[in-house]
């Protein structure tokens, strides 16, 4: 089996327009969640989110591109450009043929859907822009990344709600590990902060109107975010041979299904995924210093996740750190695992553990070290990233420091 390393990372999200800004915000425990800016805000009951502000697509894309790229595709390309530039790779010949793109998203081109449903249903028009279909399709972002960077191997999109990015990165990992691919550009994006997207979530009654407070006894729901993060996963031998800077090694991945309930999480399903990732990585429990939690800030997720971690790690659960960066960037749904992997890599490369901000009051059902409010300096050699989706689909990645 090939070893798999990460040689590039890129992002744009509510905390920053690149990796450096995002890491700075995470280290400062800054909150990117605020009042949403969108049409018909007065008709929404929930009016906060981790929205990317001061966004200027004209500075990054030409007119033709903007007419063809939904916002989720634009955000993906911004992140992919940063990641691939850092990796220093150009894709030609055999490398291009053996390199692909696997991205996660849940809603795909939701902004395009929203705008064009409004056009035909509300405005009563009988004609929409000709690019609606290629803009809204869930694989649009993956396809545009493949086109911009000449990636000619396997490319596809994974949609497993809030676990989409982790499932995507798990596929990328196994495609390199098996020898199928030399490089896979992977991660995910989401942009459903539009009127229809927010209305849909409002209906489920799980959103907070005032903030994301994971693990805190005062938590009252999730807060939406938007953005993208993209990584370059590469065959270790290839990365070493070309002298690439290695950010971290991906060492394990596991996915499980609760087969139980469409929205309520299961401790057993989560625990099986966590234990599975450790086993796949050949990693002792005691090795894990940090877990980036799914940590949505809902009553149900956070207590079930803490119970699952306690079950898997036993006494070591009290020694490791577990934080939810959703408290800062919001829940990016299909893109969330990708942005959260940035915090995992920061722990390994910088020795900085991103905090769980907005932590107000301990909850006895979440009695772990959640790194409350303030980032912590710590040396960790191995980390996990949890994602537990609606539909009971769980996906956990395990990383170690660069070899």
């Amino acid at each position: 089996m090939k070893r798999v390393v990460i040689t590039g990372q890129g992002t744009i999200n509510a905390l920053g327009a690149d990796v450096a800004a995002t890491k700075r915000a995470m280290a400062e425990g800054r909150c990117g969640i605020g009042e949403l800016e969108m049409r018909d805000l007065d008709r929404l009951a929930v009016r906060i989110g981790g929205q990317i502000k001061d966004y200027d697509p004209e500075a990054l894309f030409n007119r033709q591109q903007i007419s063809l790229y939904d916002r989720f595709t634009q955000l993906t390309l911004i992140a992919a450009r940063e990641a691939i530039a850092q990796a220093g790779l150009e894709f030609h010949g055999d490398l291009a043929a053996r390199s692909g793109v696997v991205l996660g998203t849940s809603g795909g081109g939701m902004q395009t859907l929203d705008e064009n449903y409004r056009t035909v249903y509300e405005d009563g028009k009988n004609r929409v822009h000709p690019f609606v279909v290629p803009k809204l399709m869930n694989n649009a972002a993956a396809s545009h990344v493949s086109m911009e960077f000449n990636l000619k191997g396997p490319s596809f999109t994974v949609a497993t709600a809030c676990a989409s990015s982790n499932h995507a990165m798990g596929q990328a990992f196994n495609m390199i590990r098996s020898g199928m691919c030399g490089v896979v550009v992977t991660g995910g994006s989401e942009s459903m902060l539009c009127f229809g997207g927010m209305k849909a979530w409002e209906g489920l009654r799980v959103m907070s109107k005032d903030g994301c407070r994971p693990f805190s006894a005062t938590r009252n729901g999730m807060v939406q975010g938007e953005g993208a993060a993209v990584f370059v996963f590469e065959d270790y031998e290839n990365a070493r041979a070309r002298g690439a800077e290695i950010l971290a090694e991906v060492v394990g991945f596991a996915m499980t299904s609760d087969a139980a309930d469409i929205v309520m999480p299961s401790k057993q399903g989560a625990a099986r995924a966590i234990a599975g990732a450790l086993s796949d990585a050949g990693m002792n429990r005691e090795e894990v210093g940090y877990i980036n939690a799914h940590g949505t800030g809902t009553a149900a997720n956070d207590k079930v996740e803490c119970a699952a971690v306690a079950d898997v790690f036993g006494p070591h659960a009290d020694d490791l750190m577990i934080s939810s960066t959703k408290s800062m960037h919001g829940h990016l749904i299909g893109g969330t695992g990708a942005v959260e992997l940035l915090a995992c890599i920061m722990a390994l490369t910088d020795g900085v553990i991103a905090p769980t901000i907005n932590y107000e009051e301990p909850d006895p059902e979440c009695a772990l070290d959640v790194v409350p409010n303030v980032a912590r300096d710590a040396h960790v050699g191995a980390v996990l990233s949890n994602a537990f989706a609606f539909g009971g689909l769980n996906a956990v990645l395990a990383l170690r420091a660069a070899p």
Partner: protein, 93 residues
């Protein structure tokens, strides 16, 4: 109960009909003291019932599934839900 207030009776009847439909029960089997859990209504069923109540009475029900106990709308049993709906309808008019 012998209430002389026809309006209140109709609210009560409508709420019970909504809950009965959600629970797939006859209206006679939806007793005021029953909790939604007693009637076999799970968390998704609660959210769906509240939606149906909002649509039926054209009201906004303040309910967050994360903290049902802190919601202004008391869903502890059928009677409390009826009382809460009556309150919201009265506020509306």
């Amino acid at each position: 109960m012998g209430s002389s207030d026809g309006m209140a009776d109709s609210i009560k009847d409508k709420v019970i009909a909504i809950i009965a439909e959600q629970a797939v029960l006859e209206v006679e089997d939806v007793r005021p003291a029953a909790t939604l859990a007693d009637l076999g209504i799970d968390s998704l069923g609660v959210v769906e019932s509240i939606f149906a109540i909002e649509e039926a009475f054209d009201i906004q029900v303040p309910f967050n599934a994360n903290e049902p106990e802190n919601s202004a709308f008391d869903i502890s049993n059928v009677a409390s839900i009826i009382a809460a709906v009556e309150g919201l309808v009265a506020e509306q008019s």
